[in-house]
């Protein structure tokens, strides 16, 4: 019998090793797997390379992981926000390496890794500082930049429902990076609010088929809070 359900967050994260590349889903607070990040802080793996759209908000979640000194490098598109003070201080102090990637290139590089693509030519970023040193090519009269896939050892993603085969659904814009990060990591670990009986999720509604997911763990349903902007 296939059973990807783990009984605790710590059990699900036990083998994340020092130096691992870890994708973490979420865009601001939406889709950020807060319980898994807290678990990673408790688990203590260090020297991590983190892939996320942002670089933490406030003092919790990814920001707390950074503050705890567990991260060597972050690959992201938008680190600087109204509430990114933890990242800002570490970056200015030279304690955190940053690879800045245009958001669509970040998404497609993750997707490419999951899809077994060796790289792709994209028009995004052509002629800009973020394409410096990269191969370019003219295709049908337009200029493109070569971008390579981003693979990961682990992905931590937040889903809504999951079953023991690892099939997942998401909630609203919290879906964001979840489906593609699940594809791109060797071991993908999803937190779910609801564990569904196998077969009870309508197959037409499965967003991430279970083969992309290695472990699921149930966490209590809590409301997502605001993050990443200055309230008016």
């Amino acid at each position: 019998m296939i059973d990807k359900l783990r009984t605790s967050v710590l059990e699900a994260l036990a083998d994340i090793h020092d130096g691992a590349t870890v994708m973490i889903g979420g865009f601001g607070g939406a889709g950020q797997p807060a319980e898994l990040i807290d678990g990673l802080i408790a688990q203590g793996a260090r020297d991590l390379v983190i892939v996320n759209n942002n670089a933490g908000n406030g003092d919790t979640g990814l920001a707390a992981l950074l503050k705890n000194g567990q991260v060597r490098k972050i690959i992201c598109s938008f680190p600087r926000q109204a509430d990114s003070h933890v990242f800002d201080a570490l970056y200015r102090a030279g304690k955190l390496e940053l690879e800045l990637v245009p958001q669509g290139n970040l998404a497609e590089r993750i997707r490419a890794a999951g899809a077994g693509i060796g790289g792709f030519f994209t028009p995004t970023g052509y002629g800009t500082d973020l394409a410096k040193g990269k191969e370019t090519r003219e295709i049908d009269g337009r200029m493109y930049v070569f971008e390579s896939p981003i693979h990961a050892d682990f992905a931590l993603i937040k889903a809504e429902q999951g079953d023991r085969w690892g099939n997942l659904t998401y909630r609203k814009t919290a879906r964001n990076f979840g489906p593609i990060m699940a594809m791109a990591a060797k071991v993908s670990i999803a937190s779910v609010h609801e564990v569904a009986e196998l077969g009870s999720i309508d197959p037409e509604h499965v967003i991430t088929p279970g083969l992309f997911v290695q472990r699921i763990v149930q966490v209590p349903r809590t409301a997502t809070g605001p993050a990443g902007f200055k309230a008016a």
Binding site: A30, S77, R80, A107, G127, D129, T173, T224
Partner: protein
């Protein structure tokens, strides 16, 4: 000098967005455009974090932070709207499926180069987000900005001095003083704020302007 205020600028942009258009409104000034879209017209708003068919901000107390826009602010979903993952969202953009993208800018060149992600200041923490994808993705990329900086320098320039976001991507500027079309042939004024002459506008920028009014 007479100027269009920010709401008048937004209304001017909205007047050029037709029913059925799929539009991405960038963070900052362009988000005001949503308030001026014609009531009852079906205009589909896309946000790059993974939602299409965005509605207005929720009523106080109704916020759901799993349903946010690219500015990470809570929004609502209209009937017919849908959610999708980030790679699909940027495929919508890069693949040319969006009709119009409206962006803010630090500088725009006469031939449509855009600089809007980084001032180039050595101590600034860089952050690009979806700016480079937005710049080159839609069928039409428009910029909405005040024409002059706070110190009076023209943001319409011969060549951008700030780091570029995209090359030759902006086709029109909606500013507080004029609406200006851009093309490989240069900058063409299509509309001026009341009370401003073409010569007065030309005196504000080193970019040679053509009067197409």
């Amino acid at each position: 000098m007479n100027k269009w205020n920010r709401d008048q600028m937004a209304a001017r942009v909205a007047a050029d967005i037709h029913e059925g258009s799929v539009v991405n409104l960038g963070i900052g000034l362009p988000t005001l455009v949503a308030n001026h879209l014609p009531a009852g017209a079906e205009i589909i708003l896309h946000s790059e974090n993974g939602v299409i068919g965005m509605g207005p901000a929720p009523a106080p107390g109704e916020e759901d932070y799993d349903l946010i826009n690219a500015g990470k602010q809570p929004v609502t979903l209209l009937a017919g709207g849908s959610y999708f993952h980030h790679a699909d969202s940027f495929a919508m953009m890069r693949g040319g499926h969006l009709d119009i993208c409206v962006l803010g800018a630090f500088q725009v060149s006469a031939t449509g180069d855009l600089a809007n992600w980084h001032t180039g200041a050595p101590d600034a923490i860089p952050a690009v987000g979806g700016a480079m994808d937005l710049a080159i993705g839609a069928k039409k990329t428009w910029v909405m900005m005040e024409l002059l900086t706070k110190t009076g320098e023209s943001k319409l320039v011969q060549a951008c001095s700030y780091p570029l976001t995209g090359i030759g991507c902006v086709s029109r500027i909606y500013s507080d003083l004029a609406v200006i079309d851009l093309s490989p042939a240069g900058a063409t004024v299509v509309e001026l704020v009341d009370g401003l002459s073409f010569e007065q506008l030309q005196a504000l920028t080193a970019v040679p302007l053509t009067d197409a009014r």
